[in-house]
């Protein structure tokens, strides 16, 4: 057992730090630091900068454009992203569908989609949830019926984040209704411009447009857009969910938020002193910091096991539960730091997401938006209740 980095790893850390310092666009960093939603243009610009350096998809195999880094290097990289207030890439292409394509896709699909994901040419979204199937994902109803070289897709997806920006959607569809639920599902890649697809925005609690409903009305999708075998989609779906759960723990982002809260506490004037003189506030912040440290070392232990070639089972569910708990506790405390100014939130549409026109501190707007938005963290990606079921079944055998 050894916690220290080698000289090579330290040199790598310095290289990453230096790169981020020189290349992270100031406007992108600023939005991210204040907890505001990204702009598509800024996000794409930043992903292209990372890709040019070859660092957009550290987890991918080298042959498809990955970095070949060790688990430790990947860890260092993600920590440095957090430290520099650099937004992580949008997960749908890089962390979700990309790995499905290079693991289960055919050569033609790999050649076509992987470079486009890396170059951020295609913005992907996720067509998993449906109105009737939330936690019970396998009960999905969207149908794909074979017609020559096409499938004809009918149905509806919901909670589709950022679909309004998307060029492509990866979808779970029902191709056989006469078998056990999980055995009749296929995995399709669908061009969002195909006739018959319509979007309806869902305005969130934060009064921002992040979520959407996606409707499919006789949408023709070429059979060559199917990943792997017909009716085997559940296998690919589960593989993708495992990746999703690890990435939504957002540890480095939470570390950044702890640091930001410490800065705020040290500068926010409160009743004759500073917020950091408030013992209750600081105890909560320190508690979160400790919880986060426990989560980080849990993640490192898991990484170390993966590096040794030992497979994980339901452990990512633990990262998801604890990670989302911490994110929510942090955004709640960020709002609390604002005192009454927590109430003075207006969405981006109304005032560009800034409170400047009021007399509140500059960082006053982001925390409430994020606090509201991240109530979803314990819901999306499989609710935390469902994650506990998974752990109790797979790890504890209950």
């Amino acid at each position: 057992m050894d916690l220290s980095f080698t000289d090579e790893e330290l040199a790598f850390q310095a290289e990453v730090r230096d790169f981020l310092e020189k290349n992270l666009p100031a406007d992108v960093k600023d939005r991210y630091e204040r907890g505001l939603h990204f702009t598509k243009e800024g996000q794409v610009r930043w992903q292209r900068i990372l890709n040019e350096k070859g660092w957009l998809a550290p987890g991918w195999p080298v042959e498809y454009g990955g970095t070949g880094w060790t688990a430790t290097q990947k860890y260092i990289f993600s920590q440095e992203l957090g430290r520099a207030s650099a937004p992580p890439p949008i997960p749908f292409g890089i962390n979700m569908v990309g790995p499905v394509i290079y693991t289960f896709g055919n050569q033609e699909q790999k050649d076509l989609y992987l470079p486009r994901i890396l170059n951020s040419d295609d913005w992907w979204c996720q067509g998993y949830s449906e109105p009737g199937s939330g936690s019970d994902l396998a009960s999905l109803q969207t149908k794909a019926v074979r017609d020559g070289d096409d499938y004809i897709v009918n149905g509806q997806k919901i909670w589709t984040s950022h679909a309004q920006h998307a060029d492509m959607i990866f979808c779970l569809v029902r191709t056989d209704s006469n078998v056990k639920q999980q055995e009749g599902i296929s995995f399709l890649l669908i061009d969002m411009k195909t006739p018959g697809i319509t979007l309806k925005p869902i305005i969130g609690l934060d009064t921002e447009h992040t979520l959407n409903e996606v409707f499919f009305d006789d949408v023709r999708v070429p059979v060559k857009n199917r990943i792997g075998e017909e009716n085997k989609g559940w296998t690919y779906a589960k593989f993708l969910l495992g990746n999703e759960r690890t990435s939504i723990a957002r540890i480095s982002q939470s570390k950044l938020k702890v640091k930001k809260l410490r800065d705020i506490a040290a500068s926010q004037r409160v009743s004759g002193g500073l917020l950091q003189d408030d013992a209750d506030f600081m105890r909560k912040l320190n508690q979160i910091d400790v919880d986060l440290m426990a989560l980080e070392y849990t993640e490192l232990r898991m990484l170390s096991r993966i590096q040794k070639g030992e497979p994980l089972t339901a452990e990512p569910s633990m990262l998801k539960i604890k990670g989302s708990d911490i994110q929510q506790a942090l955004t709640e405390l960020s709002v609390e730091a604002l005192g009454l100014y927590g109430a003075a939130y207006e969405s981006q549409e109304i005032r560009e997401g800034r409170n400047d026109q009021n007399f509140a501190p500059d960082y006053a707007n982001g925390p409430m938006a994020e606090h509201l938005y991240l109530r979803a963290a314990s819901i999306y990606g499989g609710s935390n209740e469902i994650q506990r079921n998974i752990i109790s079944k797979m790890v504890l055998g209950l």
């Binding site: 949830s129 009737g132 199937s133 939330g134 936690s135 019970d136 009960s139 919901i158 909670w159 869902i202 305005i203 969130g204 609690l205 009064t207 979520l211 004037r269 409160v270 009743s271 004759g272 408030d278 209750d280 506030f281 929510q328 709640e332 709002v335 609390e336 005192g339 009454l340 100014y341 927590g342 109430a343 003075a344 939130y345 207006e346 109304i350 005032r351 026109q357 009021n358 007399f359 509140a360 501190p361 409430m368 509201l372 109530r375 979803a376 314990s378 819901i379 999306y380 609710s383 209740e385 506990r388």
Partner: protein, 377 residues
Amino acid sequence: MDFELSEEQVLLKDSVDRFVQDNYSPDDRLKLSQTELGFSRDHWKTMAELGWLGMAFPEEVGGFGGGAVETMIMMESMGRGLVLEPFVSTVLLGGALIAEAGSEEQIESIIPSVIEGQTMLAFAYAEPQSRFNLNDVETTASKSGDGYVLNGTKSVVYHGGTADKIVISARTSGESRDADGISLFVVDREAAGMDVRAYRTVDGQRAADIRLENVSVGADALLGAEGAAAPVIEKITDRAIGALCAEAVGAMAAANDITNEYLKTRKQFGIPIGKFQVLQHRMVDMYMEAEQSKSMSDMAAMKLDLGYENDTKRAVSAAKSQIGKACKFVGQQSVQLHGGMGMTDEYSIGHYFKRLSTIEMLFGNTDYHLNRFSALS
């Protein structure tokens, strides 16, 4: 000891319940909150006609002489519908301050007009640095001729953008945070030097930040004795906290009803999700928090009606800290149990969550009141 309502109180409750039922469907409320004004002047008129705007004022100033219990009854029902009209700002804060500290002349010129629904008020007490400390006042009022000149910044003044008159706390002497030396002034919102910037708040209401730049007022704007406003502010604020606690109780009860219904109807894995034990226990915990809150709110209202002693202040802080904790738990878990549905602005549960979250912070959050409770014990 008696926690039951009298006949008159039952009638009052029924009448507010009916108003809420008729005018505050989730859809109605959402639409109203999105209008420029953020509430309805017609509703305000109705509330005046029904006598509600005078309910909390003593009979000697022209009110109906209702106490904290009557206020509690009304606020609980209004909390169920998340009513948007500026009842707290106008009646329980601005109006109550004037009724408590004002001269006969001030009372006569303003309170009847408030009761009739003609004049709306707001109370500007918070400042950017003050957090929850009511005595942290840096806004100054300097003597000038017969009157005063006000300078400073007031934050998050609920309904400050639409009030006709604003009651403003300002320092006439002493150091920042001294209890002595704070005075109250009644100022026209449109007075010269008032820079009022209104905005929407997260709970669907309206507030304003106000910069006072050499705002000149006459001696008749001073409310009560110069420099002696701190105890008045504390008392009226405590009564408003009692009212907010009741609003929270109503909002929690509604949120729990809505969530409970959802658990019975939403199916996953072939059965209603309410059949899952983890969700049953969560719902039970939410129910218990709401019941504990109701007990605390009733207790605080009854104590407020008995007088205003140290014990009353303790009771108010105890209620606010318990209810603050409950607000967060019930609000957040209501959203959680609704899954994605809970995350949408269109569906009502999120609005309960947002209002409950702001009630937790208004006039001091859970920690603040637990500390105050401890200091008063």
